[in-house]
């Protein structure tokens, strides 16, 4: 479905708009406070951008260093060209460990490749342990936010869902703690019994082979410490060259994302430690379109994203349509530039237009991704690569450009526009007048007025007006 069509459906959901409006307004204010506390915030953003740009410019080298470091620390590194390869690797590891269930840390990369569905097809059940992911999974729903996948649901809806599923038959009451307790009881049994866990990665440090997961609930910590086998699926763009780079991102990420000075749980592990934590560690390095994004000199900055979701929370479009209208695990402004590049422009050609180019996303991005400029760049690519040069829009654009190309044609088009005809009048398309009036065409254009004013006998004709001197010959050619 195109974005405008999907948005039409979600816009009609008044409850969704209330839930989202409330949640995003709150987190927006909190983020602003958390960021204002740091006197060097702009320097941190610049550092974050520079580190990411360097990592992407030296990506092959960084990935090989990461592979060597992880291998040396007792881990096994796998390379996956696409989602199908990655899913097969994870399923193979689960199967060889006799697991019919795996527990999962919240991970966008595994959502991107549909790992849960692929495991299901192999007879392995994936159990989401992040509270919001669990809600989405139990409701057979789709994620609507990078950080808070169930942001579109309110407490009453979640209570009813739990009463129907994991707390079958039990009445949970209205307290958040009772609702959370139902999830805790359900998950605790899984943490203690399931032998294989799957995680994503916020960062992977090439220098040391350390993988980092940042979270709030502690359920991720359970997954990466209790099971015997741990599999991490990491997008290749998550690699950082050096250990010290973490210092920058561990400040940028929590403040941008949850508006916290520091996130509650930061788990770091390097390969395998005998007698402590998982005794088998696999790192699956996932491409799935990322090298294609890297080939686009302007679009590649989308790979710098650290998945904080600050751009979603400030986006006036996201706030109204919600995440599901973007039909991707990456919604909001970042999704509008990432999804079409990862999947190919033909798979999501309307997403680069899912923005009014207001610039709020760029202003908050912790790694300074110029999302509006990339949106405009991708629009150009869609027009050149996907659309017919004879489409009504392309023809209208060409007609307008031709009209603007000479003074004579422009003034002719202005006269036609006043009669409701010609390329300038056609620019006002039907979508406009559904809910807005068009301005009354004025009796004279500005230049008509200017010319009258400066002709002999006009109100400034008598004095030495510079305007009177600039009348060029009435020739349209440029």
């Amino acid at each position: 479905m195109s974005f405008p069509a999907a948005a039409r459906t979600t816009l009609a959901d008044a409850q969704l708009r209330r839930n989202l409006g409330k949640a995003t307004t709150l987190i927006r204010e909190k983020r602003l406070r958390a960021v204002s506390e740091l006197p060097d915030w702009e320097a941190l953003r610049a550092a974050g951008e520079a580190i990411k740009a360097r990592a992407m410019a030296t990506l092959p080298e960084q990935l090989e260093r990461l592979e060597a470091s992880v291998t040396q620390a007792g881990g096994v590194v796998h390379w996956a060209r696409d989602g199908a390869e990655a899913n097969a690797i994870v399923a193979g590891i689960a199967r060889s460990n006799g697991a019919d269930e795996v527990i999962k840390v919240k991970s966008l990369a595994t959502d991107e490749i549909g790992l849960n569905e692929a495991l299901e097809a192999s007879g392995i059940r994936a159990i989401e342990t992040d509270l919001a992911e669990l809600i989405v999974q139990l409701a057979h729903d789709k994620q609507s936010h990078i950080l808070v996948p169930a942001i579109h649901k309110n407490r009453a809806e979640i209570r009813a869902l739990f009463e129907r599923t994991i707390a079958a038959g039990q009445s949970l009451g209205n307290e958040a703690s009772a609702i959370a307790e139902a999830a805790r009881t359900h998950l605790r049994a899984k943490f203690l019994s399931v032998p294989v866990a799957v995680s994503g990665a916020n960062f992977g440090v090439a220098e040391t082979g350390t993988v980092v997961v940042v979270e709030s609930e502690g359920n991720g910590r359970m997954c990466v410490t209790l099971p015997r086998v741990l599999v991490t699926v990491m997008g290749i763009e998550k690699v950082l060259p050096q250990w010290r780079d973490l210092e920058v991102f561990l400040q940028l990420l929590p403040r941008s994302s949850t508006a916290e000075r520091m996130n509650p749980y930061t788990s770091l592990w390097t390969g395998v430690t005998p007698g402590d934590g998982p005794q088998e560690f696999h790192l699956v390095l996932l491409d799935n379109g990322r090298t294609r994004v890297l080939a686009d000199e302007i679009g590649r900055a989308a790979l710098h994203c650290i998945r904080c979701s600050a751009c979603l929370n400030v986006c006036p479009v996201y706030e109204r349509v919600g995440g599901q209208a973007y039909e991707s695990v990456y919604p909001g402004p970042i999704g509008a530039i990432l999804t079409p590049q990862l999947r190919g422009l033909d798979a999501a050609p309307s997403l680069p237009w899912a923005s009014s180019l207001c610039g709020a996303c760029y202003e908050v991005c912790p790694v300074k991704i110029d999302i509006p400029s990339i949106l405009v760049h991708l629009r150009g690519r869609v027009v050149r690569e996907q659309k017919s040069s004879l489409s009504p829009e392309a023809l209208a654009m060409k007609a307008m450009a031709a009209a603007f190309g000479s003074r004579r044609r422009y003034e002719g088009a202005q006269r036609l526009a006043r009669l409701g005809r010609g390329p300038l009048a056609r620019a006002a398309l039907p979508g406009w007048t559904a809910m807005r009036d068009l301005p009354e065409p004025p009796r004279e254009t500005f230049r008509d007025w200017w010319r009258l004013r400066h002709r002999p006998g006009g109100d400034v004709a008598g004095r030495a007006s510079p305007g009177g001197l600039v009348l060029p010959p009435d020739e349209g050619s440029s």
């Binding site: 009209a403 000479s406 809910m435």
Partner: protein
Amino acid sequence: MRVALFVTCFNDTLFPDTGRAVVTLLERLGCSVEFPLEQTCCGQMHVNSGYAHEAAPLLARFERVFASDVVVSPSASCVAHVREHVPGVRAFELTEFLVDELGVVDVGASFPHRVVLHPTCHSLRLLKVGDRPRRLLAAVRGIDLVELDAAEECCGFGGTFAVKNADTSMAMLSDKLRHVLDTRAEVCTAADTSCLMHIGGALRRQRAGVRTMHLAEILAAQE
């Protein structure tokens, strides 16, 4: 000071009052205003819609027409566009020009009405004009300048966005309208006519009794 007015194709064709107000205002402040008649459109709509190729000759034309001038324009959005794509031309948005180049905040205007300012995305985030429009308005005699809730949020215009994503655009606009109406202002103003056409179009459809006026018209007024 001699300045060249870049009125924008939009104001030229649909909102001549805005251009007239800029001329009145600048002449009152001692500028001599030229209007190069060869100007047409800066190509912003083409670039933002993915037609950069079609915009290239328009940008070249803009550069040729305005090469040697100090350019003043009543559109933050168009100025941001030409500043990015034609860096050789010295172009100022009206409030930048008044405050930074002429060094005036009190422009001698008088407008005894209740006014609310929509600060516009491109004024704020592309040109970073900050509180210049607000300071200029605050110095107008008789004005009752009131605060707009969620002022910095986009009104939902966004050029072709308002047509391509009409439903989302309207959802954004209805929140902006609610905030405007909450202020009980008589006039909603901004430094960009395009946002005002969008906001004003809905205000008229709803017969809300609130007028939209470009900031230049208020600064030119001597009621």
